[in-house]
């Protein structure tokens, strides 16, 4: 019950586009995210099942600002249950941030992510605090609730439909509800969605 409540609470706080920011030992993952406020690309390597390390470039589109650096993600806890799984992750990025045409300054972010899923329902949540010297501090929260219209077998293409709510203090339109469809097949995951104002969401992930 406590796990349910923790996962639900995290999901209500926020939501994450990425699935499994820590892969299997020796695994490499490419993740790309795009929405009206941000675009990002992350390549990470998982040395062991507890954490991953990699590099990320993040573009804050409204502010014409950029952040790039090394990212580490720690799988704090995984709950494997009969017919369900929940995860808690902490991530940090340290690097440099800059506004277009200006010099780079130290910057980074910290974030927490949580998810719970069974084969038909998924709850996800994420909160991130980003700081770039001289450009300031922003906070972002994202939450999702998802539903799988069918239970595919292993090897099938799988579909999830999400209702998403994102709040980003760095954007003029701070709160953005959205609908997102996720399709994955084997090691490739693609998401496409639209915000309430017609903004496009395109995310993808591939594992090697």
């Amino acid at each position: 019950m406590r796990i349910w409540l923790a996962a639900l609470g995290a999901a209500l706080l926020t939501t994450a586009a990425g699935a499994r920011p820590v892969s299997w030992p020796g695994g490499v993952t490419w993740m790309q995210e795009l929405d009206p406020g941000t675009g990002s690309a992350l390549l990470h390597y998982t040395p062991n099942r507890h954490y991953s390390v990699g590099g990320r470039y993040l573009r804050m589109r409204e502010e014409d600002a950029n952040l790039a650096g090394a990212q580490a993600t720690w799988l704090v806890k995984r709950w494997n249950m009969e017919g369900a799984q929940a995860n808690l992750y902490l991530s940090g990025l340290a690097g440099a941030g800059w506004r277009d045409g200006e010099s780079a300054r130290p910057g980074g972010f910290v974030d927490a992510q949580a998810d719970w899923e069974n084969r038909r329902v998924m709850l996800m949540g994420m909160a991130r605090l980003t700081r770039i010297d001289r450009l300031g501090t922003t906070d972002m929260q994202l939450g999702r609730i998802g539903w799988a219209p069918y239970e595919g077998d292993y090897g099938d293409a799988h579909l999830w439909l999400f209702a998403q709510l994102k709040r980003d203090s760095g954007m003029a339109d701070e709160v953005q509800p959205a609908l997102v469809a996720r399709l994955f097949y084997r090691k490739l995951l693609v998401e496409a969605g639209v915000t309430d104002r017609g903004g496009l969401i395109l995310n993808s992930q591939i594992r090697f």
Binding site: W24, P25, Q85, F184
Partner: protein, 96 residues
């Protein structure tokens, strides 16, 4: 008579058992996502002793076909599944 004696000798001679591959069924908790369960396949395919991997999301089971004469002890198996991100709740083995 000579043929009969040869036949009896052959029948009585010890016959080396042909190597039999083993099918291992691993009951796993947390097995709900195909995309995530790819980790199991990736981990198992690195091994020389595993010839086939199948994941049954409905039953929460991983089926491994071992190569003939190969052995994969429970401790190693549990570590592989744990490293893949899951918990083993049971292991069943049978010769094919």
């Amino acid at each position: 008579m000579k043929k009969l004696m040869i036949a009896l000798l052959l029948a009585a001679a010890p016959v080396a058992a042909a190597p039999t591959p083993e099918l291992v069924t691993v009951k796993v908790n947390g097995l709900v996502c195909d995309f995530c369960a790819r980790s199991i396949e990736a981990m198992m395919k690195k091994r020389d002793d595993v010839s086939g991997v199948h994941v049954d999301l409905d039953k929460g089971e991983v089926h491994l076909k071992l190569k003939a004469n190969a052995t994969l002890d429970d401790a190693t198996l549990k570590k592989l599944i744990t490293d893949s991100g899951y918990n083993v709740t049971g292991v069943d083995r049978k010769a094919l």
